[in-house]
Structures are given as C-alpha cells and as structure tokens.
C-alpha cells in the first residue's frame, strides 16, 4: 500500500475535509490504485525536460492601472451566508 489511512487523514486535514471512517478507508484504497497507476510516469526519463505549466506561450499580461467600476458592497454581499453591516460574519477565529 502506497497510501495508508493515516496518509488520507493527513491530506484531508490539509484540504479542510472531514471524512467519515468509511470514506477514509474507501479513499485510501482508491487513491492507492490511482497513484499506483500514475507511477507509470516513472517509466519516462524526464531529467532534461522542462515542465509545462501553460499550453500557450505568453508574456505577462499587463493593463493600465486604472480605476474601474466595481460591483459594490450590496451585490458583493448578496450571497453572504451571514453578514453584519458591510462585513461577512464568521465564527470566532481566535479560541
């Protein structure tokens, strides 16, 4: 096994996911199978290959630093699960 239940629990914490015991076990098996499959990439010698992060060659995309209209507070907060005045409200941060 490449992926243990402990690995899944660790990665879930990083990803801010709470998995049930059943989910954890299921994912351990499935991730193990998938990562076993992707190991085939190691058949290829890529020592001298540059990584590609983007398919189309591009320079930096600059624009004028101009002030444009924005959507405004009410529209921006319209989907807020909880708000107070012009702020998003969240549970206590410091415990």
């Amino acid at each position: 096994m490449k992926i243990t239940v402990a690995d899944v629990e660790y990665v879930a914490r990083l990803a801010r996911l709470a998995l049930s015991k059943a989910e954890t076990e299921l994912f351990a098996g499935q991730m193990d199978a998938i990562l076993g499959y992707v190991d085939k990439l190691n058949e290829l010698d890529t020592a001298d290959v540059r990584p590609t992060s983007h398919a189309v060659p591009m320079e930096n995309a600059f624009r004028e630093d101009a002030v444009n209209p924005s959507i405004g507070v009410e529209k921006a907060l319209a989907n807020a699960p909880d708000r107070v005045d012009s702020f998003y409200r969240v549970p206590k941060v410091i415990e």
Partner: protein
C-alpha cells in the same frame, strides 16, 4: 419539421423571413422541454419567464433589421457559466443557493447577439466526471437509451441537443467534457484551442486546461457559436489576441489533398468493434473526398491519463479552496469556530468525486511529493505537447475515435474511479497539448448508440477541423438521425 428540431441556421432563416417568431420558437422549445425533461434530466434550472422576455426583445430587433444570426435563437448553458441574477450551481450542493453578481464573458457575448436563454444545464459536479453521475442535481439520461449515461461533464449540454430541448448549447472541456458527451449523444462538439475563448466567469476546475466550446446539431452551427464566443477578453489574461475569423467561411466542403494523420496509438486492440468499424468507414469516406492519409505516432499517448489526473487534480485542489462557507455558497450551521465551519461546510457541500480529486491534488502538491508527482506530470506534459507539434509538421488534421466505447450504462463505472478516468483516454491528450479538437457524428453501434469521430487540429487551427468536419457531414447522414424520445 418541428421548430425545436431546427438548427441555428435553419431557424435563423425562418426568423428572418418572418415565418416564425422567436417568441413562437421559444414557446415551442419550452413545451418540448416540459414534455421530455422527465425522461432526460438535462436541466438544473429553467428560466422560462426571462426567456419569453428575451424572445420578445429579439423579435423587435429582427423587425428593426438589426439581427445577428443568433438573434432570437433559444439556447442553454452548462451550469458552470455565471449568469447574473440566475442561480449557478456547477452541479454542486455547495453552490445550491448561489446567484452570481456578474456574467461569464461567453454568455455576455451570446446575450449581446440577442440569444434567448432557456436555462442552465446539468453537469458533473465542478465538471469532474465523464458520465454526469456526479451531479448533486440528479442523473441526466442519454436520449438514445435512457438506461445509459450521456457522457460528461457537459452531459446536460449534449443530452439537451440530442433531445431537442435547445437549439444549441455551451459546455466546457478540461479532459474531454465537450467531445465525449457530444460523441455519446450524436452531436457536434468543439473544444477550441486554449486561450481562444475567455474563461472569465466560468467556474474554474483546472485552469491550465479548461476551455469553453459549443455543442450543436451540425458543424455549421458549431462554427456560428464559436465565432460568437471566441476572441480576446481583457478579463481573462490567458485569452489570446489572435483575430477571430469567420468560421462559417471555412466550410467549403473541400478536403482534397488534406493530410489526415492516423496515430497508431489510438487504433489499439481492445477498441470497441463498433467504434473501430465507424472509424474505418470514416477513413473510407475521407478517402473518397480526396484526403490523404499519413500514419503517425503520438508516442506518449499512454501517459496522458496519468499526467492529467495529477495536473488537473492539483489545480482543482487549489481552485476549490475558495469554497469555505465565508462569502457565498453553503455554510454548515453547526460549526464551532472558523476552521471547523470551513471544514464542515466543505465536507457537507462537496460530493465524493470532488472530494476524491481534491484529496489527490492536495497529495500531489504536498510537501515531499510535489516533485515526484506534480512536477513530473508537468514534464510529461511537455513530452505530450511535443508529440503533437511533431505530428503537425506532416499533417493538417489528426483523426481518432472520441471514446473507446459508446455510452456505458448508468452505474457501470461509479465504483471504480480509475476505469471511469480511462474512458477519457483519447480526449485528454488534446487538453494537455492545449490544441483544438471536435467530435462529429460518425456512426452507430449495433445497439443504436452514437459514435463520434475526433478531428484534432493545430493550435488555432479551428477552421481546418471545422472544414474537415463539415465535409464529412456533407458526405454522410449520421447527424440527421434523431433520438426517439
């Protein structure tokens, strides 16, 4: 023929001569949706009221002589496109209540042409899937056989065309999500070159691979839709300034001397027999039309799925970090403290496939594994791109199947994610290379299921694949068959 069966160009002619109004067309479409939707499940949200108002506005525009070819055409969008004031879910419970404050550029452009929006289409959650089964809003069924999947992730976009619930639709394609459902539902679907269409307002899955494209009844409609949405957008810094040609002008019907590459890695043993036969017939057809064939090799094909499932999941894990229950979307009501609120909101809001991909991507990016997985995959991506660059030195178009089999049964692959991932083996390399490709109807299986042909073009070679697809369509009748639903 009923109004809801018409193509864009046919309906445009009816609208222009006044034989049909957009209001009549829109009402006919809404009635059609009502009658077949219980059997198909293409839509997540319907917008009949605004559609009728848009149709009336379109009729006024047509009467004033200011009509675009798309004015008054009723269409629908995958629910991944932000539509201001209209709920946009991306197939996820975490966005079940999200009403976007702005619209995607592609929808803005279609709206400016005077299109009528019928509603938002079902899809795999966050575009992660090949069957539409990962949607939080129910299964979409294949109109050709309702026990089968329509493909994914733009399954609703393809099913709606096959069931004649919209004249045209838009989808998105990260690893085959336009081409594979188009193939499974007997439609035309085109994934443009990365950068050809703005991604602004398209909910992100894997940003270096995502691209917007049309699903339509025929190649002419596909050219019309692509022309309307393509082009530079200052709000998407990866969109390119390459001018947008008149794609319909490329549809000459002439493929004499066109060099078509046949990659040996795509015509493997184990390919479904019906698919194999359809490809052989397609090659014959192109031969009769005067095209030339070149046997080519894309040697890194076999590594594409592995590469994709590292790059796409890594980008997804980063993109989906924004769903934290703070600013929009689902927030868990029973959380203690901020971190617990985020964790619970995400865990309640995301479905299994999305969680699985976030986990894989987080793992591939995590300390100690970044070089072994993520960077390794980016390097293999370079090799895969090189395969295509070399192939296109000798050929104009590459012809392959879209999928190794016709549409599979609902539930057949849900318990084995790796098998599900491998069904995208022929479409994924194109996204990694960033180039363009389309699916064109090319036959039916013994069970009557549609089979699509994939035409892959050079970067920004959309005109060539459209020309090749159109010539094939002119010489065959596959695209005229209709699902009995």
């Amino acid at each position: 023929m009923d109004i809801f069966e018409l193509t864009i160009h046919q309906l445009h002619n009816e609208l222009k001569t006044g034989a049909v109004s957009s209001l009549e067309a829109t009402k006919a479409m809404l009635a059609r949706i009502e009658s077949v939707e219980p059997h198909v499940g293409s839509f997540i949200t319907l917008t009949p009221e605004s559609a009728l108002a848009e149709a009336e506005a379109a009729d006024r525009r047509i009467a004033s002589g200011e009509a675009h070819v798309l004015t008054g055409i009723p269409l629908a969008l995958k629910d991944i496109f932000l539509t201001e004031g209209i709920r946009t879910t991306c197939g996820s419970r975490i966005l079940h209540n999200f009403v976007p404050p702005y619209s995607a550029t592609s929808w803005e452009r279609l709206r400016d042409c005077g299109c009528v929006l019928l509603g938002k289409l079902n899809q795999d959650e966050f575009a992660m899937g090949s069957s539409n089964e990962s949607s939080a809003f129910g299964v979409t069924r294949n109109p050709w056989d309702t026990t089968r999947i329509p493909g994914g992730s733009s399954g609703g976009s393809a099913a709606a065309i096959a069931a004649r619930q919209a004249t045209a639709t838009l989808g998105t394609d990260t690893g085959g999500s336009i081409r594979q459902p188009a193939s499974h539902c007997g439609c035309v679907g085109l994934k443009p070159t990365y950068g050809r269409v703005s991604r602004y307002g398209v909910i992100a899955y894997a940003s270096s691979l995502d691209q917007v494209g049309p699903i339509t009844r025929d190649v002419t409609d596909c050219a019309i839709m692509l022309g309307a949405v393509a082009g530079y957008d200052p709000r998407d810094s990866t969109s390119v300034r390459t001018p947008v040609p008149d794609y319909t002008a490329a549809l000459t019907g002439d493929v004499k001397g066109l060099k078509i590459g046949l990659p040996k890695e795509y015509f493997i043993t184990g390919l479904d027999r019906d698919v194999q036969e359809s490809m052989a017939r397609a090659i014959e057809t192109y031969g009769r039309l005067g095209a030339e064939f070149v046997e080519i090799s894309l040697p890194h094909t076999d590594y594409a799925v592995a590469t994709y499932y590292l790059i796409a999941t890594a980008e997804a894990s980063s993109n989906l970090a924004r769903y934290d229950g703070v600013r929009f979307g689902h927030r868990s009501p029973q959380a203690e403290g901020l971190i617990d609120m985020m964790t619970k909101s995400r865990s309640e809001g995301f479905g299994a496939e999305v969680k699985r991909r976030i986990m894989l991507g987080t793992y591939a990016l995590s300390s100690g594994y970044y070089d072994a997985y993520y960077v390794k995959a980016q390097k293999v991506r370079t090799l895969i791109m090189g395969d295509f660059t070399r192939a296109f030195e000798n050929v104009d178009v590459i012809l392959t199947p879209v999928a190794p089999t016709p549409a599979f049964k609902i539930g057949e692959k849900t318990n084995d994610p790796l098998q599900m991932y491998l069904s995208d083996i022929f479409t994924i390399p194109v996204n990694l290379a960033g180039t363009c490709a389309m699916s064109v109807p090319a036959g039916f299986s013994a069970l009557g299921l549609p089979i699509g042909l994939q035409l892959i073009g050079r970067p920004f070679g959309e005109e060539t694949i459209l020309r090749a697809g159109h010539a094939f369509e002119q010489a065959t009748e596959w695209h005229t068959r209709k699902a009995e639903i």
